[in-house]
Amino acid sequence: MPRSSRRDVLKIALAGAGAAALPWRANAAGRPIMMLHESSFIKTFDEFFQKTLIPNYKKETGVDVVYEITSVGSLPSRDATVIETGSGADLSMLTLLFPFLYQDKLLDVSDIAEEMGQKQGGWYDVGKEAGMVNGKWKAVPFSNIGQLMNWRTDWFKEVGVTKFPDTWEELYEVGKKLKAKDHPFGFELGHGFGDNHGWLYPLLWSYGGHEVEKDGKTVVIDSDETAKAVDFCRKFFKDTMLDDCLSWTDVSNNKAWMSEQISCTNNAESILWLAKRDFPDIAKVTDQAMNPQGPKGRYHLMNSISHGVFNFSPEKEAAHAFLKWLMDEKQLGAWYASADSYYQPVVKGYNNAPMWDVEPRNKPYRDAMATAHLPGWPAPPDRRLAEAVAKYVVIDMFAKACTGSSTKDVIKTADSQLREIYKSA
């Protein structure tokens, strides 16, 4: 082969690489908007977005939207990849503390959130908690997937209870009787994502306990209030629950419910939803109630879902315009309704919407919004708080007490963990 041919090979290779790169560049202008969303438990919710909202937007503006669905639990790592590589999506669903973790990479969407608040009945307090970072809205709160009490009306009736107990202590007394009748309670104490935080944070708060003060510095977990909550949790577990709750993840209590193993748990609306679809007999005797109150009040967890636009996206203006359109009452109301009330609005304008009449037993989820907070409240949500949640500090404090460790020891461990986390701010 003559020498010059090597140069030819190089030329061809370079030309090939250039050609391969070209279409990618050409796409940057006028490509569809990419939106990331976690797969919904309610099929019609994703379907409505794909089959109605996207075509409508295309009709109105000529802009295409791609709705990329990630599997449950993998959204945070998918979002992190998009953020770290600076490409892959223009806007995304964000859960819990992620608007705060990603604040530097999110576009200010205050205009959308302010307008939404004004036109749609005003935000619940927890809306600001979930979307506002240092005075600016970095994400537009969409909903809570509330965690409430699910209870078996037939078995409660067997021990003479027809209305869900109002306080934790009353619930405990009922649970003792039900466990004796082989109808134990089942509350997640393991390392899931939602059903553990769903009742343990509200329990801690309702006894007056907190991890960190509002200043985001002072660790206050070591208190008499926390001790009372821990003591309650220990006896609540021992006298009312199944042993297995300690290892439960988020699917476990649903499974136990459908196999008629437990008489009370803390879960999202999905239990009733699934029972109605697959186990109608169980659905008939399933009811839902707000969390019981403790000496310091009644609380709920804000299992927040919001939407944010990535500020590094070349299509950020288009994505911003799309989010504004999406959050308009016309679209938003229908999107909520497509999932009945599985996603509870964070604005008050939907409180009397027909979606609440589809299943009146879901109404407590609406009423719980007024007392809902993000995990770690009242400390400001930030990455230290996210670390404490990821390390299951509060969950394991309660769970260890349930396996027999002393209240003093478990609080001491949680306290030292939190101090270590908050030290390196």
Binding site: P76, S247, K255, A256, K391, Q417
Partner: protein
């Protein structure tokens, strides 16, 4: 007679051959580099880069979505003060140690049994690979049902044999949870040991056994003095791989217990993932993941040295 190359006729006079890609590629060094190039490039890109980036990250305070700042060993110091981290260290060593020993003993037994002559030998050998072939996530979900208190086939059997209902809480009790994940890992890893050792067993020449038998060796002695010494290098290599895989296990624990109850089953990989992804602390997560490096590196060096010494 002394032959000097320069005086050989024809050599000096031969004209320089024109460049040919074929002969160039045929040259020993060029050929070996051509063959080595792609894998080296692959390793540098997909193993080397993430590895060194991991080390770099572990020395930074690097929240997700924010630029990192160099903090030296602060992440490692922070971990050393975290009681959960030490729990994770303990868990990982127990998990790896016990599971490896069980897999080694079980795998050897399996290989010895499979080395016998029996009907449907090949079919059964192929079936044995199933636990290894089935995706971990799927087989773990199956175990999740088998250990579930309501549906547990294990507990059902135990209850039939007189244990009071509902039987042990396999995943709810911290000790039982660790035992459960060790057994499931053993179940999954056994075929790897079994099949590899079986391949080794088949290389043992029959004459050696015959000679040993003539010398009066019984079956235990034949195993001890013929089989085991020949299998030893293979056992070491399989153990090396097995320890690495087990040490860095993620899927099994993530699906089955997510590190619970109370971190009783949390391993390096799951804990690092929770901190890095769940908590958005990439630097700290990398530091946790890297903490398993010294132990693994020591093991790899020790086994490699041992094998070299044997070869020499």
């Amino acid at each position: 007679m002394v032959i000097r190359s320069a005086t050989l006729p024809g050599v000096a006079a031969r004209p320089r051959r024109p460049f040919s890609l074929k002969s160039w590629a045929d040259r020993g060094t060029v050929f070996s580099w051509l063959m080595m190039g792609p894998p080296v490039l692959f390793i540098v890109t997909f193993v080397g880069y993430p590895f060194f980036y991991g080390i770099f990250l572990s020395l930074e305070n690097r929240p997700v979505a924010q630029p990192g700042t160099f903090v030296g060993l602060a992440n490692f110091i922070k971990e050393a003060n975290d009681p959960v981290f030490w729990r994770v260290v303990q868990n990982t060593f127990v998990y790896t140690g016990v599971a490896t020993v069980l897999k080694m003993a079980g795998g050897l037994g399996l290989a010895l049994a499979m080395n016998q002559q029996f009907k449907l030998k090949n079919v059964i050998r192929a079936l044995l690979l199933l636990p290894f072939i089935v995706p971990t996530v799927l087989s773990t979900v199956a175990f999740m049902w088998m250990l579930d208190p309501a549906f547990s086939v294990v507990n059902r059997v135990l209850v039939i044999f007189g244990m009071p209902k509902p039987g042990p809480s396999w995943l709810g009790n911290p000790v039982l949870a660790m035992i459960s994940i060790i057994l499931i890992n053993t179940w999954r890893g056994l075929p790897f040991y079994g099949i590899t050792l079986l391949a080794g067993l088949q290389t043992v020449p029959a004459e050696l056994y015959e000679a040993a038998t003539i010398d009066g060796a019984g079956s235990w002695q034949r195993f001890r003095f013929v089989t085991l010494p020949i299998l030893q290098p293979i056992i070491l290599i399989v153990t090396l791989f097995s320890v690495i895989f087990t040490f860095a296990d993620f899927q099994l624990v993530y699906v089955l217990t997510h590190g619970g109850p109370q971190n009783a089953t949390a391993l390096f990989a799951t804990y690092a993932f929770d901190i890095g992804m769940g908590g958005g602390q990439l630097g700290l997560g990398a530091a946790v993941a890297l903490a398993m490096l010294p132990a693994l590196a020591l093991l790899i060096v020790a086994i490699t040295l041992y094998l070299r010494k044997k070869d020499a």
